[in-house]
């Protein structure tokens, strides 16, 4: 019993970096989507931000500040573009999101290649840092604090209510006096920055290596998407779902060692669980209790005529 407990604690500690990454991405994604912007580019953003972090690490000698900053700024830039275009023009959220996803995969391939070559010439170099036990515990605590702040921001302030209103019914919100564009840009600035930070955290605190499989083909952005969705995009609930997934992903690699499951099969587990968790959310009262914004992904266009 004790062994299982310490075993679990061990996993918690060693997956701290992944938890931070998942939560930052899922929370940022939730904030963006609460404003009504459907973010299908998340996996591309994950790949790009992790790659940019790697790039900065290699060329600036693991200067973490530059690493996080670069990822956050670039992703926020793309995100602000998305939010602006999707609000000002009647463009399909899904189409823009998916195309940005592909573009970002491509950019990641091109950007990551150079530093990878350079890294090979540097002896004993790994991007990021190995977190100490204290730092790992701090990571968990900081995320909890962040969740409380995010909750207050969304639910208890005028800007938060404006963001929610923009996601529920942008036309009504505008008639009520909300500057929908401004609200969505604020949500985008905050949310996409977090996504960028999350990807950088993944690179610097967890995986600490770059190759196409670990970064571009990992699909972890989609896991973050499911984490946000099944957590109802609620800052506190998403804390829980992020935790579950970080434990799951990390231990699925362990399952290989413990139970001799094939490595490939273990890779598929997080996705199967993600599909199951999305299904659970949609099929149960959760769907109504933690409902998605009514106008999420809907094209906003004011001049639609009525019969």
């Amino acid at each position: 019993m004790d062994a299982a407990f310490t075993g679990f604690l061990d996993i918690m500690i060693s997956s701290a970096g992944l938890f931070v990454a998942f939560y930052l991405m899922a929370l940022g994604h939730s904030i963006v989507e609460k404003s009504g912007i459907l973010n299908l580019a998340i996996d591309g953003m994950f790949a790009l931000s992790a790659t940019l972090a790697f790039f900065a690490d290699v060329y600036y000698g693991n200067d973490l500040l530059k690493s996080f900053l670069l990822s956050a700024v670039v992703v926020a830039f793309f995100g602000l573009f998305m939010a602006f275009v999707l609000t000002k023009f009647p463009v399909s959220h899904g189409a823009v999101g998916l195309s940005l996803m592909f573009l970002m995969y491509g950019l990641s391939s091109v950007i990551g290649y150079g530093p990878r070559i350079v890294q090979a010439t540097m002896s004993n170099f790994s991007p990021g840092i190995s977190l100490s036990l204290k730092e790992r515990i701090a990571g968990y605590l900081i995320m909890v604090a962040l969740s409380v702040f995010a909750y207050w921001f969304i639910e208890k302030t005028k800007i938060g209510v404006s963001i929610k209103a923009s996601g529920e019914d942008p036309a009504a919100a505008e008639a009520l006096g909300v500057n929908v564009l401004a609200s969505r840009l604020v949500a985008a600035a905050v949310g996409f920055t977090m996504i960028g930070l999350g990807g950088a955290a993944y690179m610097n605190f967890y995986v600490r290596l770059w190759d196409e499989r670990a970064v571009i083909l990992s699909g972890y952005g989609w896991l973050a998407f499911s984490i946000a969705l099944s957590g109802g995009r609620h800052p506190l609930v998403v804390l829980l779902t992020s935790f579950i997934f970080s434990i799951l992903v990390h231990s699925s690699l362990q399952l290989v060692a413990w139970y001799g499951i094939s490595r490939e099969l273990s890779y598929s587990l997080p996705f199967i669980v993600a599909i199951i968790s999305m299904t659970i959310y949609m099929a149960t009262p959760l769907r109504r209790l933690l409902a998605s914004p009514k106008s999420l992904g809907r094209i906003y266009f004011r001049e639609e005529r009525t019969v």
């Binding site: 404006s162 209103a165 529920e168 919100a173 009520l176 006096g177 500057n179 009525t306």
Partner: protein
């Protein structure tokens, strides 16, 4: 009410300058010109009615004033200066706010959260609680009682409209536009708002009242502007005109065709549709219908009158098998047998027609043409579609109802609203062999088409002995078409009358109590 000597428009250059002037406004939509060189002047301290039938452009005009649409040509002058109102926020900054027929409040938020949204004086990080005091003051003034921490979806229609007016006040509005906001309320309810509008006017505010009902325009306005087919026909002082003159302006040569007289009587036969003790929930999980019982007979129209939001939507959906029933039963008698709680597919197959409340979103596919919209209904095609037959049928509809369209294949989105509605009605009437559930079947249609549609429905009732449940928020329509009238209020039937002997006042009273 305290007397305030502060005028709303304190800095108007002169009382002779109109607060708002729209000058030669032109607005086009695909398939129609909504406004053609419209010029109107609005003055402070006035209640100004804009009267016109559906499709006359009145709604478009005020949507331009409130920043939802932008004119293609022409200019807007505010206090003599030219302005561009390109979004609702700009309109709000000029002091123009609008209350429309469908409340704009966001259902999932609370009243307080909705109200705080437009208030500039609140900081970005202000909490919803900061609105409470201001709201309570205003509530006292208008005389309503609404819990500001309540979620909006729980409020009734009248309450929501009142909250919207309160909002206009809280924003310090100088121009309040009511876009058919009161048209579907009974007179008693409207009077609640009129009390307030008169006070607003006495302080110098401008109220613009949009309606297509002549009596409403005469109830409280000082000026009446009549629009017809996108053109400004004339602006008169209410005290200097009368119903007939205004009717003439609204309809010109068609005035003779338009009548609110009762259509022919039905010939009631056996029951075709029966509802017994029906309990149905709404989208939020509370009961919208609480034990409704009704009977529709063949050869008659049963009109269901009520203010929007009292369960009509849920009733229509439940009857058509589109919403689940918690308790009670629905029975359709046709083909010599009874069908209990029939599924949508069955209903369509045995010939039950449905004109839904929002035809664009529920009744037709605008990406495809008339013939596809016919083909999608059961009974018109087998697993393999023979387009020849369907195209022919579509052409028949086009002829009979004079639908203006290039071809039976033209996607419906290129048709005007009226023609779209005609396409829907044509299809449903063709499909109907036993019963028809019609919810606001003529909303948004111009008067002539509306009367034509109502006549078609009543003729089919008498000729083919179908039974029709006519759910409508337009009391004039109910009285014109129905043989019997039922009144729905908070999910219950509160009155049942013979149409010829029913008193309008009593029906209105029951709608509200």
């Amino acid at each position: 009410m305290e007397k305030s000597s502060q005028r709303i428009f304190s800095s108007n250059p002169s009382p002779k300058t109109p607060i708002i002037k729209v000058d030669n406004i032109v607005k086009r939509f695909p398939g129609a010109v909504a406004l053609e060189n419209v010029t109107v002047e609005f003055y402070e301290g006035t209640i100004h009615a804009i009267l016109g039938e559906n499709g006359s452009g009145k709604s478009t005009l005020v949507k331009i004033l409130s920043g939802i649409y932008t004119p293609d040509e022409g200019a807007i002058y505010y206090k003599g200066k030219k302005v561009t109102i390109d979004n609702p926020i700009k309109a709000l900054s000029l002091g123009i706010s609008m209350v429309s027929q469908s409340p704009v409040l966001i259902e999932r938020l609370t009243v307080a959260e909705n109200l705080m949204l437009g208030l500039k004086q609140l900081g970005v990080f202000a909490s919803p609680k900061s609105v409470l005091k201001l709201f309570e003051e205003i509530m006292d003034k208008i005389g309503i009682k609404v819990d500001p921490e309540e979620d909006v979806w729980k409020l009734t229609y009248t309450q929501r409209q009142l909250v919207e007016i309160a909002r206009a006040l809280m924003l310090g509005s100088k121009v309040i536009i009511l876009d058919e906001a009161l048209t579907y309320l009974p007179l008693e309810e409207r009077r609640k708002f009129y009390r307030y509008l008169l006070e607003f006017k006495s302080k110098g505010g401008l109220a613009i009242l949009i309606t297509h009902k002549i009596p409403e325009a005469f109830e409280v306005s000082d000026m009446i502007t009549v629009l017809r087919r996108g053109k400004h026909i004339g602006t008169v002082k209410t005290s200097e005109t009368n119903y007939d003159a205004v009717r003439e302006m609204m309809f010109a040569e068609r005035a003779k065709e338009i009548t609110l007289e009762r259509l022919m009587d039905g010939v009631p036969g056996e029951t075709v549709l029966e509802v017994r003790d029906l309990w149905v929930k709404n989208d939020f999980g509370t009961y919208a219908l609480r034990g409704i019982s009704l009977e529709v007979k063949r050869g008659e129209v049963l009109g269901l009158a009520g203010i929007v939001g009292n369960g009509q939507v849920e009733l229509a959906q439940a009857l058509m098998g589109l919403r689940s029933v918690e308790r009670g039963s629905i029975i359709v008698y046709a083909n010599g047998r009874s069908y209990v709680k029939p599924a949508t597919k069955t209903l369509r197959e045995i010939g039950v027609g449905y004109i839904p409340d929002q035809p664009l979103s529920h009744g037709v596919s605008i990406d495809y043409g008339l013939r596809e919209n016919i083909a999608v209904m059961p009974g018109y095609t087998g697993p393999f579609i023979k387009w020849g037959r369907l195209t022919k049928l579509a052409r028949e509809f086009i002829e009979v109802l004079t639908i203006v369209t290039p071809s039976p294949k033209t996607p419906l989105k290129y048709l005007s609203g009226g023609n779209l509605m005609k396409s829907l009605v044509a299809r449903e009437l063709d499909l109907t062999k036993n019963a028809l559930v019609a919810y606001n079947p003529t909303r948004g249609l111009d008067e002539v088409t509306s009367i034509k549609v109502r006549r078609m429905i009543k003729e089919k009732v008498v000729k083919d002995k179908i039974g029709v449940l006519l759910i409508s928020e337009d009391l004039d329509e109910i009285f014109q078409v129905s043989d019997r009238i039922a009144v729905i209020n908070e999910g219950k039937i509160v009155g049942l009358f013979d149409a010829k002997s029913a008193s309008r006042e009593e029906v209105e009273k029951l709608m509200v109590m």
